[in-house]
Amino acid sequence: MFEINLVNKNEILLSGRFDATQVEKALEIFINIQETHIVNFEKLDYISSAGLSVLLKTQKRLTTNGHQLKLKNINKHIREIFQYTGFDMIFEIE
């Protein structure tokens, strides 16, 4: 199961598994983000390249206007994925 929710005005909470079947659901939120947001991975167990691509596209778009996604509470497995892909260099991670 995957859930994505906007909380606290500028925070996106991800839950469950962000796999290729969940891209459309995620885009419903990410496509409307126009300013800096925090993405909270606290409840996210899994992410694949499909999910990473959504984050990357959003980051590319936001940074052209001086905004960005900031990521927090990433678990050790997902953090490893971020290191393999160099995402830890293009996202601010708490």
Partner: protein
């Protein structure tokens, strides 16, 4: 043996269920289990993407020995096309130069020790091998 899955993104839920049952019978450490789920998803979705019109299902076979975890994906009635030979993904590129594609195969190659492509009799088989140490169970 293995199991065949319909060539559809929505089959991923069944694929993950199949993997979960396998892991139940052949325990793996969390990291290896995560890698297995991720690598199979990446290859399954790539096979669908590059051969969308093929009506045949995709075969997934998982094997575990004391030393190794093996995942095989077989695609039927296809022309030869090695999806594992992707353009090398460069994780050091700046954000503006970073391509959207290629991440999946890059991850597969990082997480598994061997990634093999075989083509014979109109069948394409991709084999992933991860060598397991004492800490992988």
């Amino acid at each position: 043996m293995g199991q065949k899955f319909k060539r559809n993104i929505r089959s991923l839920n069944d694929v993950f269920e199949y993997i979960a049952v396998f892991i139940d019978k052949h325990p793996l450490d969390e990291s290896t289990a995560f890698s297995l789920n991720l690598a199979v998803e990446e290859l399954f979705t790539n096979i669908i993407k590059y051969n969308a019109d093929n009506p045949n299902p995709i075969l997934l076979n998982l094997k575990r020995s004391p030393d190794a975890l093996v995942a095989e994906l077989t695609d039927y009635a296809v022309e030869p096309f090695d999806i594992t030979k992707s353009h090398d993904y460069d994780p050091s590129l700046s954000l503006d130069k970073r391509p959207i594609g290629g991440i999946g195969i890059h991850l597969v190659k990082k997480m598994f020790d061997e990634v093999k492509y075989d083509y014979k009799d109109q069948q394409c088989k991709i084999t992933l091998i991860k060598y397991l140490g004492a800490s992988d169970v």
